[in-house]
């Protein structure tokens, strides 16, 4: 675990820029795997609308969370601790730890299948994906400061990979495939919305981040704009994806490895788009590791320990066994999570954070000199929130 060097102790763990990069680059990367095919299966040419609706809903939740951050020194869990007591906050940490594990179940299987498709010509041994858990195990032991930096480094990786892939893809897209607008029955589009709820419930991941983040004036606007930028990336990708594949889109799993393959130059110089895909995979690996890291962090807070190595090992071994056994039962898990348990995502990612708006918020402390700026962080014994993660 990286300790914060005494020289840097006066700095906040996360800053607004890193939060912006998280929502603008890491979150959209996670939408490029199974979601486009799934959405096009239900909504067909109208696939942009359910995605847009999800983004609008999540933007409201994000705005609420940023509002809470702007009004209170404490993060989300600190606010709960203030209002409902520390035991309640610990229970909530525990629930969110389980929720983050739950929310990783299907994406991990998607990632596993994506790896087998994108990285291998022939079927590799099933155990190959398990090496991922060494990486995530390592990341889970790190603090949120390292996560913030991973958001920074994801920015160039995502931009280079995404822009490169889109340049190669957009020429093959026929955007008339998206017409007529609202040509699909509303019921199918609404089903598409509900079934992809799990894919868009990323705002819950902001909750543990708020514990380590100090709001500065103007951050709210920047984060919301970044989230909008990230949404535009995804919507543009969906449009290009459906433009290229049209009615065949539902069959194109892991769309972003396929959209660029019709670029003429690739037949001459080889599939160098794969290098961009691998670059994007690094961002994806950071994102999925962060989901597990959030779970480890919440578990650690729930049981009140700072030693995360054992927790990290336990969770990663558990998920390693899960991916080993569950990949053959992908459809069963998909139906269970997407069709029957989609309300869990709505509850944890939308309802609970929004309910926090009704909690009593203490005014943010001002620095003693009266100038506007970040409040002094005081560490109190037994404080639940704002503990150095």
């Amino acid at each position: 675990m990286t300790a914060i060097h005494p020289i840097q102790q006066d700095r906040p763990v996360l800053n607004g820029r890193q939060l912006c990069f998280f929502v603008a680059f890491l979150v959209p990367a996670s939408k490029l795997l199974a979601m486009p095919a799934l959405l096009s299966y239900f909504a067909k040419g109208d696939l942009l609308f359910p995605a847009l609706a999800h983004y609008l809903l999540q933007a409201c939740v994000l705005a609420a969370l940023l509002f809470i951050a702007s009004r209170s020194d404490k993060g989300f869990f600190g606010l709960v601790a203030d209002n409902l007591g520390k035991p309640a906050a610990r229970i909530l940490y525990g629930l969110y730890a389980v929720y983050f594990l739950f929310s990783a179940l299907q994406p991990l299987l998607d990632l596993e299948r994506f790896v087998y498709t994108a990285f291998f010509d022939s079927a590799p041994p099933m155990s190959i994906f398990c090496v991922f858990f060494f990486l995530s195990g390592f990341i889970c032991t790190k603090n949120l400061k390292a996560f913030g930096r991973s958001a920074d480094i994801s920015m160039p990786l995502f931009l280079v990979a995404f822009i490169g892939l889109m340049i190669m893809s957009v020429g093959s897209a026929d955007f008339s495939n998206l017409l007529p607008v609202f040509g699909n029955p509303f019921r199918s589009t609404a089903t598409g919305f509900l079934e992809t709820t799990g894919h868009f419930s990323d705002t819950a991941l902001i909750l543990p981040l708020l514990d380590a983040y100090r709001y500065r004036k103007g951050d709210g606007k920047k984060v919301m704009l970044s989230y909008g930028g990230g949404a535009l990336f995804v919507l543009f990708f969906l449009a290009v994806f459906y433009g290229i594949f049209g009615p065949l889109a539902p069959r194109q799993e892991f769309a972003f490895i396929k959209t660029a393959q019709y670029f003429p130059a690739l037949s001459v110089v080889g599939r160098f788009d794969l290098l961009l895909i691998y670059m994007m995979t690094v961002v994806l690996l950071f994102y999925y590791s962060f989901v597990l890291q959030s779970s480890v962090l919440c578990f650690a807070r729930a049981i009140g320990t700072e030693k995360r190595v054992l927790l990290s090992a336990a969770i990663n071994v558990l998920l390693f066994l899960y991916t080993l056994l569950a990949v053959k039962h992908y459809n069963v898990i998909y139906y269970a999570i997407s069709l029957r348990l989609f309300w869990v995502f709505l509850l944890f990612a939308d309802v609970i954070p929004l309910a926090c708006l009704f909690l009593r918020q203490r005014e943010k402390k001002r620095p003693e000199n009266g100038k506007k700026g970040p409040p002094e962080r005081k560490k109190r014994t037994g404080e639940v929130s704002r503990a150095q993660p």
Binding site: Q8, R17, F120, R149, L274
Partner: protein
């Protein structure tokens, strides 16, 4: 604490009793007034001619001149008389025998006189040093060619020559129980972060080892992560680079006996910067840096991707190239990964041998390496031509960044091993792991991968991209220099208050550039 007595013979005996080695010599002579004197020194470390001219001769002529304290008579010789007579700029009085012994071993000479219970340390040190020359590891086509040598005093002088400011400070300490090696921490007061300097001084003070042969030992003690393959302390052999880094806010460390100076905090991107980048146009510097960056990627990943393209993902190569490679590897007894492993091993062995081998055998080595091993191995069908080309190209590419060669070699092996076993997914995983390792690593509170992660937009002006000097008006934000301004626009001459301004009282700005 043993002290000197007034008896010269007793004093010499007690010193020789401890310093019994044959290279500790005693030169006895009589002063002009007949007082017995002796000079004790380590043979080979002092300038004997200087001792004769500036110490022994003036004392021998003492009787001719009058002692100013006497009324015309020749008085008894005392400490003041000796000090007044000697023409040395560096004279120190000392009574403690242990301290005197340390000074003798440090290369100074000790002057003793009968009847005086004090020793005079005369700074006539002249250890054998080589001339200042261009460092072999850091050659620049354009720019200064001076390099540090093994003598710390010379190195300090080389630095002082370039930074003629009273703000240049040295703090010298001795490290090593046996070697008593001089280690100088140098910094520019008002420009370097004092916290970092204090931390370095503290850590150096905590080193308790018997012998320090080189600055790499100090670097090892200062590095926060002991098992990292990546460097955590900067190194240079060039005074111009060293001075420039200090002017950016870093703290420097000079170690006696080592031509390699250390700088801290170190950031990863420094490996990709060459001194020459600052002496050519920024446009060219950017191109050079981009080439180095790409070359390192090629060096690390090309052998690994070559193996992957054959074993796991044929689409990585264009069809024509795949067919060419397929024809050349036909009939090879080794698998692609084993073949690449073998060729890479040959490269590493040749590299190691060519460094250690005497120069006149070098030609033979080239013939054996290139012709016998390369050509014959291909003809015999042990390895394929593409494998040799790839390894050779990878080897050349790695040397575009000389400071990264050690870490690069290890990483290349790792990538090759993982590519042969897990395929391209393994490469991506290892890359992600290394990236995360680097972003979570700090040295002296400075992130190793800055200014990319955490993103410090201000410092990107001198990273892969190199802006012109006029754009680099402020020092790197990362080093938290109290005095941020490097270039003042519109000022051609220094003002009277330059010294005061250097101390950092102006240009204070809130530190909002970097983050985490």
């Amino acid at each position: 604490m043993e002290k000197l007595t007034k008896n010269l013979r007793d004093n010499i005996q007690s010193i020789k009793g401890v310093l019994a080695a044959d290279d500790i010599l005693v030169y006895s002579f009589r002063a002009g007034d007949g007082t017995e004197c002796a000079v004790v020194y380590a043979d080979g470390l002092v300038d004997k001619a200087v001792i004769g001219d500036l110490a022994a001769r003036p004392l021998a002529e003492l009787g001719i001149r009058k002692n100013p304290s006497d009324d015309g008579d020749r008085g008894e010789m005392n400490a003041d008389t000796v000090k007044d007579s000697l023409l040395f700029p560096e004279i120190k009085e000392q009574e403690d025998v242990q301290e005197l012994l340390k000074e003798i071993l440090d290369g100074n000479c000790l002057l003793l006189a009968d009847g005086i219970a004090k020793g005079f340390i005369v700074g006539a040190k002249k250890p054998p040093v080589r001339a200042v020359a261009e460092p072999p590891t850091d050659i620049a086509v354009k720019g200064p060619r001076e390099g540090f040598i093994e003598d710390i005093k010379t190195n300090m002088a080389l630095l002082r020559k370039r930074l003629k400011t009273p703000m240049l400070r040295f703090e010298i300490s001795k490290v090593g129980r046996r070697s008593e090696t001089n280690v100088a921490v140098c910094w520019l007061k008002g420009i370097s972060d004092e916290k970092i300097k204090d931390e370095i001084v503290k850590r150096i003070g905590e080193i308790d080892i018997d012998y320090i042969p080189d600055s790499s030992y100090i670097a090892d003690f200062l590095a926060p992560r002991k098992h990292s393959v990546f460097r955590q302390i900067g190194t240079t052999e060039k005074p111009d680079v060293f001075a420039a880094k200090m002017a950016e806010g870093r703290v420097g460390i000079l170690v006696d006996g080592s031509p390699i100076a250390l700088t801290a905090p170190f950031i990863f991107i420094e490996d990709f910067q060459s001194s020459e980048d600052y002496y050519v146009s920024p446009f060219m510097a950017t191109i050079f840096r981009a080439i180095r960056f790409i070359a390192v990627f090629i060096a690390l990943l090309l052998p690994a991707f070559y193996v992957c393209s054959q074993l796991f993902k044929l689409q990585l190569l264009p069809l024509g190239l795949t067919l060419t490679i397929a024809s050349s590897i036909q009939g090879l007894p080794l698998s692609p990964s084993l073949e690449m492993f073998l060729v890479l091993l040959v490269l590493e062995v040749l590299k190691e041998a060519s460094i250690r081998m005497p120069k006149y055998v070098g030609m033979a080595l080239s013939v054996v390496g290139a012709l016998v091993l390369g050509e014959t191995a291909v003809s015999a069908g042990f390895v394929s031509t593409p494998a040799i080309i790839i390894v050779a190209f990878s080897g050349i590419c790695l040397y575009t960044v000389p400071n990264f060669v050690e870490a690069g070699s290890i990483l290349r092996w790792l990538f090759l091993l993982i590519a042969g076993s897990i395929g391209p997914f393994g490469i991506v995983l290892l890359a992600a792991f290394l990236l995360y390792y680097l972003i979570s690593a700090d040295a002296f509170g400075m992130p190793l991968l800055a200014p990319f992660s955490p993103l410090v937009p201000h410092d990107l002006k001198d990273s892969i991209v190199k802006y012109n000097l006029q754009s680099l008006k402020e020092r790197p934000a990362l080093f938290r220099s109290p005095n941020k301004v490097r270039l003042r626009s519109g000022k051609k001459t220094e003002t009277k208050n330059e010294t005061e301004k250097d101390s950092g009282r102006e240009d204070e700005k809130p530190d909002g550039q970097g983050g985490n």
